[in-house]
């Protein structure tokens, strides 16, 4: 259908395309094209260029240092901590978001009542200001008057100064990150569940796979595999970009226990003004994002070619 339409456009265009249509195209797309150049392409190139210099923000001079920023980054204790912490954070947030999102989606779909209500409740954190909610989390986790320690004390669980202890700070940030992304995973999984054709369940019924667990194993989970890979990538990208909670709740502390990639980028570029160094971190972040996006494109392509 689409291919047909396109070929109609092609034939028409071969006859009519002329100066007028090209002019119209550039007039309509021109402002966007210029702005994409000025605000995306050139700044992107500039980051790559700055990353090879020793420039300090505001300095009048700079010199080319090649890959020196990258070699010193990987030798830098704080940056290695940032990479390590980000990896740990991602490894905590992504599996818990996926498992919880999928389980809750299955549970919501397993019944008819209150579906929209449960979906809305679990989705709410995804669309609220994480900056404002981080402040609320700080109150919840307050060592003496916070709800968490009050409840834990009441039921005999250990209490702690959650955000000021090296052992607990990353897991706590991961819980907040999971709390925020859960709704997104849930909604994507719900859409995936709705897209499973009823025929598959009927066929499984005929084959004798009619128990709840059988249906889950034979039909539901295999059908969700492409969606799951997709959710995995989207949630991973979000987890790599964690910033607000670090900036507001910990500033990378205690010590360097919660420094993460984007916080390191922010601090080097805009607080320490070691701009070349900060740009090198931006390049590393970009490489990670592009790698994940390429994986995502491959997933989407294989999905569309299959259907």
């Amino acid at each position: 259908m689409k291919a047909q339409q396109a070929s109609v456009v092609d034939r028409r265009s071969r006859v009519e395309t002329g100066f007028a249509e090209t002019l119209a195209g550039y007039t309509l797309a021109g402002p966007a094209l210029v702005l994409i150049f000025a605000l995306f392409i050139l700044p992107g190139a500039a980051v790559l260029a700055i990353a090879t210099t020793d420039w300090h923000l505001g300095a009048k001079t700079l010199s080319f240092v090649g890959a020196a920023n990258f070699t010193s980054l990987f030798a830098d204790r704080v940056f290695r901590a940032a990479l390590f912490n980000t990896a740990v954070y991602v490894l905590m947030v992504v599996p818990s978001t996926l498992v919880l999102g999928l389980s809750l989606a299955l549970l919501i779909e397993s019944g008819k009542s209150l579906r929209a209500f449960y979906r809305a409740v679990h989705f709410l954190p995804f669309m609220t200001s994480l900056a404002a909610m981080a402040i609320v989390w700080e109150a919840l986790l307050h060592p003496t008057i916070g709800l968490v320690n009050q409840v834990f004390g009441l039921i005999g669980l250990p209490t702690a100064n959650w955000l000021r202890s090296e052992a607990t700070v990353l897991p706590i940030l991961a819980i907040i990150g999971t709390w925020q992304s859960l709704g997104l995973a849930l909604v994507l999984f719900l859409a995936g569940l709705k897209a499973i054709p009823q025929d598959l369940y009927d066929a499984a019924d005929i084959d004798g796979a009619d128990g709840v667990l059988d249906r889950l194993r034979v039909v539901t989970l295999p059908s969700l595999a492409p969606v799951s890979l997709f959710v995995l990538i989207v949630v991973t990208l979000r987890a790599f970009a964690a910033f607000d909670i670090v900036q507001i709740l910990t500033r990378g502390g205690p010590g360097d226990a919660s420094v993460m990639l984007l916080y390191a980028l922010y601090r080097e570029s805009f607080e320490y003004l070691t701009t070349g160094y900060g740009a090198a971190i931006a390049v590393i972040f970009l490489v990670i994002v592009i790698a994940l996006a390429m994986l995502q494109t491959r997933v989407v392509n294989s999905r569309t070619s299959r259907s």
Binding site: Q5, V9, R12, E21, T22, A24, G25, Y26, L28, A29, A32, L33, L35, I36, L39, F40, G44, A46, V47, I50, L100, L107, S110, G111, S113, L114, R119, A120, V121, H122, F123, L124, P125, M127, T128, S129, L130, A131, A132, M133, I135, V136, W137, A139, L140, I145, L147, A191, V234, F243, D244, Q247, I248, L265, F270, A279, F285, L286, V289, I290
Partner: protein
Amino acid sequence: MTLPMKILAGAVRHAILLTTGSLVLAPFVWMVSLSLKPPAELFSSSFTLLPQHWFAVENYARALTEAPLPRYMLNGVIVCAAILLLQIMICAPAAYALAKVRFAGRQVMFGFVLIGLLIPHQVLALPLFILCYGLGIFNTYAALIFPFVVSPFGIFLFRQFFMSIPDDIVHAARLDGLSELSIVWRIMLPMSLPAVLAFSIVSVVSHWNDLFWPLLVVRSQEFMPPSLGIVTFANAEAGNDYGPLMAGATVVVAPLVISFLAAQRWFIEGLTAGSIK
């Protein structure tokens, strides 16, 4: 399944979902609860949802007067509205050109849109910061708005919708003597309202909630959008005076939560589409 089993399964489903749901909502409930309480009750070891002495008026009054909270909210409205209007004005014609107009370089341009879609904003923060400084718009509304006036995601989304509109409609409009721009405004956009709505929600939610960019380019309170404003308020309000702070957080979060409850389906569909960029 037998009937008793079905009832049991239903009860278990509700029990689990109500539990996870309350855990997810706990921060919101706690926020509103603290915003109603006087300082003395914050420190009492027995916690209750509702205050013994209502202190809501005092807390909200302090939040609205001691911090320029109304100013932050107004800034949020100004910045989000300006960004959204400019984005639609710039992206819709470009998307129409990419979908319906044949011109040399169209594929190359779409390639640039895809590159723009791929680059996370934080990577570009440094050059854009320098650009804003160079243009002399540092610490103004313009610095908050300018880097976002073109949205590759918007172009991409609108292009997809425009492509599904039959060419015949475009031809008919051209025969009627409509200019290309009026085809965009009077035919393409009205026929793509779901895309416009989804994009508007993504745009407003992300800029109302954004902290990273405002943190870089705005220093004075008179330009701060809500998220940066509430963080500034929290830093100034050192100590444990949570009442006004939680009242402030409630005020910052409320507009989007209320809109969400009013138009749930649109928010969920829009933001899910937005996450896929």
